[in-house]
Symmetry: C2
Subunit: 449 residues, 2 copies
């Protein structure tokens, strides 16, 4: 890969105050890399470098800066400069920024915007979090169906400069109702006299503002889209979502699943930007719930105090049984949670999946049981009944663990809960209780204690 990661040369120019040379090198870089460079350097130099940028790229660079640096720059520049930024930003980038800034700064920014922009931003700020409306932007190309290809291309050449994408164009009627979609590719591949009505696709994959952003990103992936129109309840076009934002949603949703599956509340900000107290607050609730859950397992154990007072060796197998059960169960739940998240496993597949997990469990249980049997015969020869107790318990544990690990995420889905909470930690806690109950019940029966 040829990403720009080393900024030593640029920093040496900055430190040597060779600003003309620095500017010349900077403008050759990608906007994303210029933003990374601004983050790399000392605070006192950030404004100097930002002001050095030509007007046509400064908003792009600004939209790629992290929120703290955006805040820092806004504090340091004039209202006129703020106004230039806010008019140049795409609405979705402006919204992302405004949602994170302190209220007083938001007020100043909105005051600097012109009335139309302000009205648009205020409208977009109202869409609920995680909805299609909250990730869309307003800068799209809307055409009319009676236009010819030549007229459409002319329109795009004139109006496309500040649009987020020109590659997918939307055809709307006089009341802004979405009638069709036409890709720039279709425009350019057809003769100039063709009307849009002849070539537009009326079967549009679209989202409603209130749709969940996760569904939107799934549809991008399924249909290989580069943009998707967003309509209101009356089917009027209000915005578009571009593939780069859909990709961000996809990554964010995967991160949320990782967090939920490791017994955490999903965090809103990246790890390094989340404070220690916030991190702890996200982690404590599930740790508490699971700790209280595993006290029940302690309760099961206390029933058998006589058993392990008589045969203390039984205790030494507890962690092996519970760990193996937990691992076997979370393998199953993880496969199924992920399969459902990427849309591969659907509700109608549930019986098939459960039957599959059961057969996999028979094989895994047999393999682990066999290895354990051999090991125990070598290390504790003669204790056949104890060995049998451990091996049979292990076998039953693996089968129960995989069945529970398979069943719970599907049950959650059927109950419209998020399957991701039925992951490793919860499965482990449940399987612990079940496996130890089996183990000691079996011990009491086989060993007569």
């Amino acid at each position: 890969m040829t990403e720009n990661t080393g900024f030593e040369y640029l920093i040496s120019l900055l430190e040597g105050r060779k600003f003309a040379k620095l500017k010349e090198s900077l403008v050759k870089l990608n906007e994303v890399d210029i933003a990374s460079f601004i983050c790399e350097i000392d605070e006192e130099n950030r404004l100097i470098v930002y002001r050095m940028l030509p007007k046509d790229i400064s908003a792009d660079v600004f939209s790629n800066l992290p929120i703290e640096v955006q805040h820092f720059i806004i504090k340091g520049i004039s209202d006129k400069e703020v106004s230039l930024i806010i008019e140049d930003l795409f609405v979705d980038d402006a919204i992302d920024m405004l949602e994170e800034l302190p209220a007083t700064v938001v007020k100043r920014v909105l005051k600097a915007a012109n009335p139309d922009t302000r009205e648009l931003i205020n409208r977009f700020l109202k869409y609920p979090e995680n909805s299609a409306g909250s990730v869309m932007t307003a800068e799209y190309i809307a055409l009319k169906k009676h236009m010819t290809v030549e007229q459409a291309i002319g329109y795009i050449r004139k109006n496309g400069v500040d649009k987020e994408t020109i590659y997918t164009c939307y055809v709307t009627n006089d009341t802004r109702v979405l009638e069709g979609v036409v890709s720039f590719r279709e425009l350019i591949m057809n003769s100039y006299e063709t009307t849009l009505e002849e070539i537009m696709d009326t079967n549009v994959i679209k989202a409603v503002t209130t749709d969940d952003q996760e569904e939107v990103s799934t549809a991008f992936n399924k249909y290989d889209l580069i943009a998707m129109p967003v309509v209101d309840k009356e089917d009027r076009l209000v915005g578009i979502i571009t593939v780069d934002d859909a990709v961000d949603v996809m990554e964010q949703e995967a991160t949320e699943d990782f967090e939920k599956m490791a017994a955490m509340l999903p965090s809103e900000k990246p790890y390094l930007k989340t404070g220690v107290l916030r991190l702890a607050a996200n982690r404590i609730p599930w740790l508490l719930v699971l700790m209280i859950g595993s006290m029940f397992t302690g309760g099961i154990l206390s029933v058998y105090e006589n058993a392990f007072a008589a045969l203390p060796i039984l205790v030494t197998f507890i962690t092996m049984l519970t760990d193996t059960g937990g691992n076997a169960g979370s393998q199953s739940s993880t496969m199924i949670i992920r399969g459902m998240a990427v849309g591969e496993i659907k509700e109608r597949d549930f019986p098939r999946v459960l039957w599959k997990e059961f057969r996999v469990a028979l094989i895994c249980g047999a393999a682990l049981g066999a290895v354990n049997f051999v090991r125990l015969e070598i290390m504790n020869p003669g204790n056949t009944l104890i060995i049998l107790t451990v091996v049979i318990s292990l076998y039953i544990t693996v089968i129960l663990a995989k069945t529970i690990g398979g069943l719970l995420p599907m049950a959650a889905k059927a109950l419209k809960l998020d399957p991701a909470i039925m992951a490793s930690p919860l499965i482990t806690t449940i399987v612990d209780a079940v496996s130890l109950a089996v183990y000691f019940r079996l011990a009491v029966m086989l060993l007569n204690i």
Copy 2:
């Protein structure tokens, strides 16, 4: 969302043998949905429906079919029809299919292709799995820098029909060395006389064929690309990767991380298409390793047999301690593994991260310890020393768990290993041993047993 998922009407047309009407309804659908429809219906009807499709969309539909259905269709059609498909498919889709088909079928397909296509496919089949070369395609637009915008647009109109994207065009010299990139947007926004040399961007974000596909998809996300050129070691353009394929890679890599983090070997095929034996084979190795690991914990326990023979109540806290330690540790490791995977946490951040985890651990440990203290005082009043042993052990366990959970993924990264293996299962096994050693050591000291 307005995806097409219900095919009842189409199926009723098929069952009523109303083929003209069926065809009329089908061609209005998106190719992805036509492919879904073909998967829904009985095998004997699949060929009938496939042959019904107009030539200009049949290859698109074909590339969206799962491999078994592709195989089924190839078996049922003539060599001439096979040849039409293989000439119409983009190389990346052809490669995806050929890599999964049985050798005899591959032979037949390659024989049906024309010599140029065959040579191209054979070359592409040689790129190593998971490399940039293995996901790229050959259908791109290559322009020359002396062309004017008008000439370039003319060239694209003539040659763009069978290109995977026309929105990003590449400028190469006479020996195919990549000199720059120009977006269709820049072409259309500039006057027709401008030469490409004036507007092309020479700072190209590109991949080498041998680069890891994961790095490629990370760069797509970072730079919001819709296509990326792939060059060979001599910087000659050999293919492009489009954003839809980068998104597939992203999803596939996240799935692999989920699998590794739940102690499984990554699977090559989707869950429902993987056999029971293969699933079991992916799961048994780590289950065995971890089971053997937890036998060491059993070893630690056996040292303290006298302790719990004297005080069996100590045993009832084992699962609570090990589960909580495991959960606390996997919270930390998950956050850090994911942070590294999305590129947020870099090696230089390691000391900061560790210090953060340590402080989070102090808070989490205190909260859990306090709740446990209150519960134990209510349920086991009077046993102050035992209660102290449990609460102090819990506190130390949480701190050690989070430190180990934070440290191991970073150590793996520093050693160029995949951090994802340092996830919940392994952390749990290690933390189990540590927490029980602490617990019983403390019990022996405080309780004089």
